[in-house]
């Protein structure tokens, strides 16, 4: 307040004008983002069912959540899915970027092919893969007709394997994005490093693994954060591919929350679940953003 008082009237007017322009952004941040999160946090400490109630029950909802088998299964699925999805995307995306970086013919066409799935919705992708993985008409049947009558590929109806089918479909969709971002990183690396390595007779693959990959650190970190947030949110793909089945074998937390919000009318439990998801994301994103900021600051000091 006192700082504002000290401003000259003209400056004050200037500040005021830009604040008026930023009003939509301010209200979005305060109401939609901060307000929603605080509201969900509050509800998670109550015994609300269909409507929010004021009866506080402490951490009871969180306790119930972590005694709920379906939630625990969802978390387990998410962990397995997340590790495999991120590793596979990074590996495939990195390989595609490196191979495309070898001055190949038709680079533009190849890049287009690897990235187009990313332009499609997860629902559409999920439905195509559901159809291809369907054992009755899909790949299994086709390979059997080609003269391998014992060929089996029925993961999508197998409780133990279904989660891998979601990994396959989403890796197919997202690894092109990883390729595009890492390729941009590769193109930013100084040519002199390659000349020096060539003169020293270091094999190309060694240069990639020992020199280029560490230099790509910031790009990889960005990609990792993007993939991680995608993992926590995974919902569309599961709904369109398996609806969480067979049984509950491919349930994920986001789906658990949606069902308890709208189907089962238990908004307190759902809110507790969503707060757990939020904490998981913040645990990763906040250190990432702080590191980024520090890096930007040291770079600014250098310049």
């Amino acid at each position: 307040m006192s700082a504002a008082m000290k401003l000259k009237p003209k400056q004050l007017l200037r500040q005021l004008l830009s604040w008026v322009a930023l009003l939509p952004m301010a209200s979005t941040v305060l109401v939609a983002y901060l307000g929603s999160v605080l509201w969900s946090l509050r509800v998670s400490f109550t015994n609300s069912r269909t409507f929010p109630s004021d009866q506080y029950v402490g951490l009871a909802q969180y306790q119930r959540l972590f005694e709920n088998e379906r939630w625990l299964l969802s978390l387990q699925n998410l962990a397995l899915y997340g590790v495999l999805f991120i590793l596979a995307c990074l590996l495939l995306g990195f390989l595609l970027a490196v191979f495309i970086d070898q001055k190949v013919m038709a680079e533009g066409a190849l890049r287009t092919v690897f990235l187009y799935p990313y332009a499609m919705s997860f629902v559409a992708t999920g439905l195509v893969w559901q159809w291809m993985l369907n054992p009755g008409n899909g790949i299994q049947q086709a390979v059997r007709q080609m003269g391998f009558p014992n060929f089996n590929f029925d993961w999508i109806i197998d409780q133990d394997m279904v989660i891998y089918t979601i990994v396959i479909a989403t890796v197919w969709q997202a690894s092109g994005l990883v390729m595009a971002l890492l390729l941009a990183g590769l193109r930013g690396i100084d040519e002199d490093i390659w000349k020096a390595a060539r003169m020293d007779g270091i094999p190309t693959w060694r240069v990639y693994v020992s020199i280029v990959l560490p230099m790509l650190g910031p790009s990889v970190a960005t990609v990792f954060v993007l993939l991680f947030t995608a993992v926590v949110k995974v919902f569309d793909s599961v709904v369109s591919m398996t609806q969480g089945g067979p049984g509950t074998a491919s349930e994920v937390p986001a789906k658990f929350i949606m069902e308890h919000l709208f189907g089962r009318a238990n908004i307190a439990l759902a809110s507790a679940g969503s707060i757990v998801l939020l904490l998981t994301v913040l645990l990763l994103v906040v250190p990432f953003m702080l590191a980024r900021q520090r890096q930007a600051r040291t770079q600014a000091e250098k310049a």
């Binding site: 929603s36 969900s40 390989l95 559409a124 195509v128 709904v239 908004i267 939020l278």
Partner: protein
Amino acid sequence: MSSISAPALARRQAQWLRPARIGVYAFLLSAAVFFLLPLYIMLVTSFKSMDEIRLGNLFALPIQVTVEPWVTAWTSACTGVACEGIRGGFWNSVLIVIPSTVLPILLGALNGYALSFWKPRGANLLFGILMLGAFIPVQVMMFPLVRILATLGLFSSLPGIVLVHLIFSMPVMTLLFRNYYQAIPQELFQAARIDGGGFWRIFVQLMLPMSTPIIVVAAIMQVTGVWNDYILGLVFAGRDNLPMTVQLNNVINTTTGTRLYNVNMAATILTSLVPLTLYFVSGRWFVRGIAAGAVKG
């Protein structure tokens, strides 16, 4: 070809035959097959009759090409209760996408402009929180937003779903424009101030006309993102405004009885047509948007 000398050509051919070179192309080609396979299967399946699908091979080309699945998908496939195809969803999506692209871009540009040139006190903190907001899982905000929209009388309506898209796209849109404007020299802004330009005049007459490249990038991102959205449309749009993705999922996952795979695949392609066309036409701009949006902060 004529510009390449004979020895260079020979060298290039020799390079081609090196095992490492063959390995590179073998990897890239098999990857390309893996990526194109689903698109190919979607296409061939959508032109087959059901009999052919039951008897034939998933990978085979249609023996008798039929466009009937496409017509059915567009005009008479059943989405839950009604059997009017997914054309309704198409037009709903169009109606949602247009305001959900224009408004976020305008607001993003305004935010970026105010943040980069006017720098009001405390605005950077606000921007920081907004950037963090980009990472909040949708589910955390879902129910509070339902309540807010219900209070405003906007729940299950077209303005409601547009408002929700506006909220969720604000971090990325603001970031895109802020970064773009920060690359513009401050001197240009100062000169406009000295010439007597006010807040809105400088924005409308100087900054917006300079922003065409970033507006194109933002529009591509926003059209693709809103068109492909499923969860927000499902919750906020209401029964009369369900976007195409939701109707597509209804066609395929809630139909009872025999599943018409050819119709399903035609419907899937129809739903993906807008973003795919945009992607194939815009190419580099699409990639540029991804790169700009990915570098959060």
